[in-house]
């Protein structure tokens, strides 16, 4: 597969490490009243869509950026690639 890196252009997926669902960015707050339940969901429950899927890839043999890649799990078509850092910030992770 080829991942079109937002800064570096198309690069072979062999340079990347796959992690999984980009919901891993949304780590719950530890002091939330239902933190146990939220962390359980965060740690163990994943959607497994047949279609568009936002997932985390790490450009380990590259610029060491974590990316959020939107990939169709049926066709492997990649429709969007963003820096995970930007995605995290846009989801309100400011610390």
């Amino acid at each position: 597969m080829i991942i079109n890196h937002p800064l570096l252009g198309p690069r072979d997926a062999a340079e990347f490490i796959y992690l999984g669902d980009a919901s891993l960015i949304d780590r719950p707050g530890w002091e939330d009243p239902d933190a146990d339940e939220k962390f359980y969901e965060y740690g163990y429950l994943r959607d497994n869509p047949a279609g568009a899927h936002q997932e985390l890839w790490y450009h380990e043999q590259g610029d060491r950026s974590w990316l959020v890649v939107t990939r169709n799990t049926l066709s492997h078509e990649i429709t969007n690639v963003e820096l995970a850092r930007d995605v995290a910030k846009s989801r309100g992770r400011d610390r």
């Binding site: 597969m1 080829i2 198309p10 072979d12 997926a13 490490i17 992690l19 891993l24 960015i25 780590r27 719950p28 707050g29 530890w30 002091e31 933190a35 146990d36 962390f39 359980y40 965060y42 740690g43 163990y44 985390l56 790490y58 380990e60 060491r64 950026s65 974590w66 066709s75 492997h76 078509e77 990649i78 820096l83 995970a84 850092r85 995605v87 995290a88 910030k89 992770r93 400011d94 610390r95």
Partner: protein
């Protein structure tokens, strides 16, 4: 015997003679020949025996689809089985032998299976060798193995070299036939970066085999001229002898280039190169494959594809027979007759299954219409054919054409499904095609020359347009030859076995039987009958097979569908897939900075990941590794030892928020670690299980140096970047690995300070008061060399780790040993390191095994409940904090002479040794030279409350057990006085 069947013409160089041998017989051919064309020239039509029935077989095709003409090529370690002789380029000194016979090719002892064929129908093995069960391993399997398989391996290491590579282009053109050349020429003249790949050694595809004209010149000449133009252009990479074997995601293709297979020797160069081609756009112009018609005894040597017969005559100047007959269901077969007659080869008869007038007038050739071949005669070479009319036609070569199948394979590698086209009786590429691919020419069902050239040009133009490049030039022109075809798959009147898949010996009857027994899906048919398996993957047999299945099951061909085409298009040797990664080059090695010193000083090395680490340093007179390891551990505890610990991961952590960041990734607190201090840190996974441990030193307010375990260095870095970028992107923290940058040595033992005092420059105070346990700082050594000093201990002794820039590492080892001479300092390896850490009760990989918690390790108190950190919340789950949780403790054998066994499970005395009574397991064991007996670490339920209890340590694997006593994990200096000295 000379080249009796050689005729005039063809693309061979008659000025040079190549000598070769087949089954020990010396023969001659010319440059431009394949092994098969040379064999035919020498009158050799019998070339092998079939897989299952050991039927005499000849040559069916002139291409990579060949099911029969498979040989052992070369000899000795270079011998390669199942080489398709139809695409083996002839070279001087070539040796080949035939396959699949015991005794000679002419008198195969295994041919008896042919007469037993009534018992060997589809599914024979499944049905027969079921019973009795006990017979399978001892009787059936050895017997089947002996007779199964195609060809023989040399059983020697592959002496050849292989390589891999990466190529990039705007347009990849697969196939250099009429459509491919037209496409490549269009793109090349437009300035695009073009790769043109073709499996043949002479580009041109069918143009080389036909007598058709392009641009008013002979097709062969047009191909040669076009190839010369392409070869001269800097933006074109012309790759002959290169098979694009797979279409992968996003325009990535796999290709195998055969670099030296056409030479007598590789001369030290890679024999084959496996290319990964990254293309922006692709034109697939893979052509088409002619298919046979199934009729009784249609596998005799001398029965060939009609197109192949033309190839041998037109391209190679070889007459495949003296008296040729043609059997066809389409117009194209007629051209074989016409071309042969034009070359003076005797064609007696055209048998056309269609009830239609002659396609063309060919003088002296009899046309028999609405008739088929029903049976043949001639066990080792064709003598005559019998028609459905009962008529017998004498001939030594029968050219058969059942129509042409577009080579759709690569269009299906991304799960595209082909579509049926009634007008050409064949499947053509359906959707969806691999991203960026367009198909042109016969591969796309455009079966005539004029159409192929036009489509090649048009597809290239469209592909360039998508890249924003304007195509230049017009399509080359040619006339369209007659190509009408009528569906006709097998001759129903035949009572004899009619072969569909000659490579796997599958007959029409087998397919009908499979259908009768319920294997009606084409995928099941394939697995039940083995049709379409092995080296040719059914290129000549699949479509006929599924047409017969359709007929038998009352479905249409499109309803039956095809099996899924997967890479590779043609076989790819495992050697090519391995590339350079063999033996010592299997993976890279990482060497520690003092590797050279260790080599010179008797080290035995052990692989730790990619690292080679000194395991122990043997001295003269030592009888085994234990002697060395015991000595190293004892001498370290008694005086001082030195160990290269560079392999531990080192990560430079800097930033205003570095401390806060560490506080989040470590379970224990780091916020208030003072500058100049080191702290042991424990990392958890988010699920609360222990992940990694190490020490982190605060070198300055905003600067930390983290260490990780050797094994997890890369993983921890990755995870820290995840935390930094995805979880806490608002923190000012920056990471960079310095693992390789610093040569780091543990200097351990009561004399370690005295030793270092001699090396560290005088202005640095390293006394216990100025530089206490868990202190760290920057120092200089040997007169101003910058170094880092950490007072940390893995051995439990007074110890330091000292780091210098890696390029000084080997010299530093020398210096430390020289300075340590007066203390009898010893170098120690990973074994002594392991012994001492077990003696001290430190957890390592065996204990941090991805199943254990901080509580299990006795480090539960380290997990701060006052702050957030990765793993904090889930580590508090009740099930992971049960009262009877396993705890890390020490063990010693009650009988001190016995040796503990790692992996033993603990059973309470009085209980049976069953899983339900399992109390835990032994993780690490060592012989302690300090205590003079075997010691162990392990996890056992409530271990910390069971000191002194005797339990059974049971090892069912070793079929042994012993009584062991639960003791503190700290076998040496439990109060920690030594390391604070």
């Amino acid at each position: 015997m000379s080249q009796v069947n050689r005729i005039n013409g063809g693309l061979i160089d008659r000025s040079k003679v190549l000598n070769f041998s087949f089954n020990g017989r010396n023969m001659q051919g010319h440059p431009g020949d394949t092994l098969v064309s040379a064999l035919l020239a020498n009158g050799q039509t019998l070339v092998g025996r079939s897989f299952k029935y050991h039927r005499p077989r000849g040559i069916l095709t002139a291409g990579s689809e060949e099911p029969n003409a498979l040989v052992h090529l070369r000899s000795g370690a270079h011998q390669e089985p199942n080489t398709r002789a139809t695409v083996t380029e002839l070279f001087d000194g070539l040796t080949a032998t035939s396959q699949n016979h015991r005794g000679s090719l002419e008198h195969d002892l295994m041919a008896i299976t042919d007469f037993a064929s009534p018992f060997l129908s589809a599914g024979f093995y499944y049905k027969t060798f079921m019973w009795p069960k006990a017979f399978w391993e001892k009787v059936y399997e050895p017997a089947i193995r002996k007779s199964a398989g195609l060809g023989r391996l040399s059983m020697k290491d592959d002496p050849d070299r292989y390589d891999k590579g990466f190529l990039h282009c705007d347009l990849l053109v697969i196939g250099a036939g009429a459509a491919g050349l037209s496409a490549a020429l269009t793109a090349a003249r437009s300035g695009a970066r073009v790769i043109l790949a073709d499996e043949d050694f002479t580009p041109g595809g069918r143009l080389n085999s036909e007598t058709l004209s392009v641009e008013n010149m002979a097709g062969q000449d047009w191909a040669r001229m076009t190839v010369a133009e392409l070869a001269s252009m800097p933006n074109v990479r012309l790759m002959t002898r290169t098979t694009v074997y797979g279409a992968y995601d996003h325009g990535t293709y796999g290709a195998l280039e055969r670099c030296t297979d056409h030479l007598a020797t590789s001369d030290g160069k890679p024999r084959q190169v496996l290319w990964r081609i990254y293309s922006k756009r692709t034109v697939l112009a893979a052509g088409a494959t002619e298919r046979p018609i199934a009729f009784g005894n249609n596998d005799r040597p001398g029965i060939m594809m009609a197109g192949a017969v033309r190839t041998y005559v037109n391209r190679y100047g070889v007459a495949p027979g003296r008296d040729v007959a043609v059997f066809t269901n389409n117009d194209d077969g007629w051209r074989t007759a016409a071309d042969l007659v034009a070359r003076g080869v005797n064609v007696t008869t055209i048998i056309d299954s269609r009830d239609a007038p002659a396609v063309m007038n060919i003088a002296g050739v009899r046309h028999i219409r609405a008739t088929a071949v029903m049976d043949t005669v001639g066990r080792k070479g064709l003598k005559s054919v019998t028609l459905t009319s009962g008529q017998v036609v004498p001939c030594d070569c029968l050219a058969v054409s059942g129509g042409w199948n577009p080579n759709v394979h690569l269009t299906c590698h991304q799960r595209g499904r082909p579509e049926w086209r009634d007008d050409i009786c064949a499947f053509v590429p359906g959707g969806p095609l691999p991203v960026g691919m367009a198909v042109a020419g016969a591969a796309n069902g455009s079966m005539t020359l004029g159409a192929a050239l036009a489509e090649g040009h048009a597809q290239a133009t469209a592909q360039l347009d998508a890249l924003g490049v304007k195509a230049k030039g017009d399509a080359p022109t040619a006339e369209d030859e007659p190509r009408a075809c009528a569906a006709f798959w097998h001759v129903k009147e035949s009572t004899k076995r009619a072969w569909v898949d000659q490579q796997n010996d599958v007959t029409v009857k087998d397919i009908k039987l499979a259908n009768h027994e319920g294997f009606r899906s084409v995928e099941l048919l394939k697995r039940y009958t083995t049709m379409g398996m092995a080296t040719d993957q059914g290129k000549t047999s699949n479509i006929a097979g599924l047409a017969i299945l359709a007929e038998a099951s009352g479905k249409t061909i499109p309803e039956v569908g095809t099996t899924i085409f997967r890479p590779p298009y043609t076989p790819v040797p495992l050697g090519a897939l391995a590339g350079r990664c063999r033996g010592e080059d299997f993976r890279p090695y990482r060497l520690t900075p003092s590797h050279k010193w260790a080599e010179e000083n008797g080290a035995t090395f052990v692989e730790v990941g990619n690292w080679l680490r000194a395991q122990w340093f043997a001295r003269p007179g030592e009888k085994g590794w234990r002697d060395s390891v015991d000595r190293e551990a004892l001498q370290t505890r008694q005086s001082v030892g030195i160990c290269d610990v560079t392999t531990l991961g080192k990560i430079d952590v800097q930033g205003k928020d570095a401390a806060e960041f560490l506080n989040k990734v470590y379970a224990n607190a780091f916020l208030k670690l003072p500058v100049g201090k080191v702290r042991y840190g424990l990392m958890l996974r988010e699920d609360g299980i222990c992940y990694d441990d190490g020490t982190t030193a605060r070198m300055a307010e905003n600067h930390f140096v983290m260490t990780t375990t050797t094994a997890n260095a890369v993983l921890v870095f990755r995870r820290l970047e995840f935390a930094r970028q995805c979880l806490w992107p608002g923190l000012d923290v920056h990471l960079i690995s310095t693992t390789d940058g610093w040569a780091q040595f543990a200097v351990a033992g009561p004399n370690s300070r005295s030793l270092l005092r001699k090396v560290i420059d005088e202005d640095h105070d390293i006394s216990n008061e100025a530089f206490p346990f868990m202190g760290c700082g920057e120092v200089t050594v040997c007169g101003g060399m910058p170094a880092r000093l950490f007072r940390i201990s893995f051995s439990g002794e007074l110890a330091f780790e000292i780091a210098v820039p890696a390029r000084y590492g080997n010299s530093m080892m020398d210096v430390l040993m020289e300075a340590g001479q007066e203390f009898d300092a010893v170098p120690y390896g990973t074994e002594a390191l392991g012994v001492m850490r077990i003696e001290k009760g430190h957890a390592a990989g065996n204990e941090l095994n991805g199943q254990t918690t901080a509580l299990n390790l006795g480090l539960g108190g380290m997990v701060s409940k006052k702050k957030d950190c990765i793993g904090q919340t889930l580590s508090q789950r009740p099930e992971m904090n049960r009262d009877d949780a396993i705890r890390l403790v020490g063990f010693r054998p009650v009988d001190r002479a016995r040796k503990l066994i790692a992996g033993s499970h603990f059973i309470t005395h009085g209980d049976d040794a069953t899983m339900s009574n399992d109390q835990g397991w032994m993780t690490s064991v060592a012989f302690s030279p300090s205590l003079d007996h075997s010691i162990g670490l392990g996890f056992i339920k409530r271990g910390h409350e069971r000191m002194g209890e005797i339990v059974r340590a049971v090892s069912p694997v070793h079929d042994t057990e012993m009584d062991v006593e639960i003791v503190s994990a700290h076998f040496i200096d439990p109060e920690g006085e030594r390391l604070r000295a």
